[in-house]
């Protein structure tokens, strides 16, 4: 059974059967020097991606990685040369 949302005119505007996968679990901001580990045990077996929301002009990336060794997504934030702002999106 899908989740369907209609506007006030009765038009279907969102249908969980007709959209691509993806939910935002969190939006995080870090300085270049900060490190962190984020875990998402509510989403076992799901894929997580990092969506960068900052605008940094640099030759290296934000150094944020995802692994699944725990059976659910784990995001590791390493040090970088740029500040980081990103969303963790799971589908």
């Amino acid at each position: 059974m899908p989740l369907i949302i209609y506007d006030t005119s009765g038009n279907e505007v969102w249908n969980s059967d007709n959209v691509s996968g993806g939910v935002v679990t969190t939006i995080k901001t870090y300085t270049a020097a900060q490190t962190d580990t984020l875990t998402f045990p509510a989403f076992p077996g799901r894929t997580a991606v990092i969506v960068n929301l900052g605008a940094y002009i640099a030759t290296s990336g934000p150094n944020v990685s995802v692994d699944y060794s725990l059976g659910y997504p784990r995001v590791t934030v390493g040090t970088s040369v740029v500040p980081r702002q990103f969303a963790v999106v799971v589908y």
Binding site: S16, V19, G21, A42, V51, A55, I57, G61
Partner: protein, 235 residues
């Protein structure tokens, strides 16, 4: 009760363990500037927009064929969000900077802690994490661009009024001799939309300077993901 929905492909499309960002409106344009015209150094122009919302937000930037376009910053002060955008109109000044024009800035908000609605979803801690009285961000795709600068993603079927959440990252620097000086430019990455619907990175001049010597010439695209959505029907 846990609330979770999947699409027929088995992908997660809604979860009470996540945050549902729902449409709160277009941010209001508050100012636009063009790149400077100093003979020494200049920076790209930009436009700014504000919207009032107590909760967190994400910005969906409509993709237009006369780009490049990118969100430069999203900053909150009190309940006011200020969004800064670089949006070229397809023309360039003498230094190569894209001429700026306003665009539409579509904003999707997470419910604030004080949210009231008949359709609030709460997480396991009792914190509002979704408000279904507003249209959720509609995922058309999550794209992944590689380190190949020219990497392109073309939707099939075509997307009407495509928009993007997320920014491409990278760096380009160029040097050109000009008399006894060197014209050095640092370029940023933005989004580009082809007339065939292809979505790709677009480069724009972010900094221009006239220096005594050249800078190293570099071109690096950082791999990354972005959410492709549509703003069709949103007013």
């Amino acid at each position: 009760m846990e609330i979770t929905f999947y699409n027929p492909s088995g992908e997660l499309t809604f979860s009470g363990d996540a945050i549902t960002y729902s449409y709160i409106g277009k941010a209001t344009p508050t100012g636009i500037s063009q790149a400077g015209t100093s003979s020494v150094s200049n920076t790209v122009g930009r436009s700014t927009y504000t919207i009032t919302w107590d909760g967190d937000i994400v910005v969906a930037l409509p993709l237009k064929t006369n780009g490049p376009q990118v969100v430069l910053s999203t900053v909150k002060s009190g309940s006011t969000w200020t969004i800064t955008v670089m949006k070229g109109d397809g023309t360039f000044d003498a230094n190569g900077f894209p001429t700026q024009e306003y665009t539409e800035v579509y904003v999707f908000g997470a419910p604030p802690s004080t949210a009231t609605s008949q359709f609030i979803i709460y997480d396991v801690n009792g914190v509002p994490c979704g408000d279904l009285s507003r249209q959720p961000l509609l995922y058309k795709a999550i794209i992944a661009l590689s380190s190949t600068v020219t990497d392109t993603w073309t939707p099939s079927p075509a997307i009407t009024s495509p928009a993007v959440v997320g920014n491409p990252l990278g760096y380009r620097s160029t040097s050109v001799a000009s008399g006894s000086k060197w014209i050095n430019r640092v370029w940023g990455f933005a989004w580009s939309l082809g007339t065939d619907g292809a979505i790709s990175r677009g480069l724009y001049v972010n900094d221009w300077s006239s220096d005594d010597g050249p800078i190293a010439q570099t071109l690096v695209a950082v791999p990354g993901n972005a959410i492709i959505t549509t703003v069709q029907g949103l007013s």
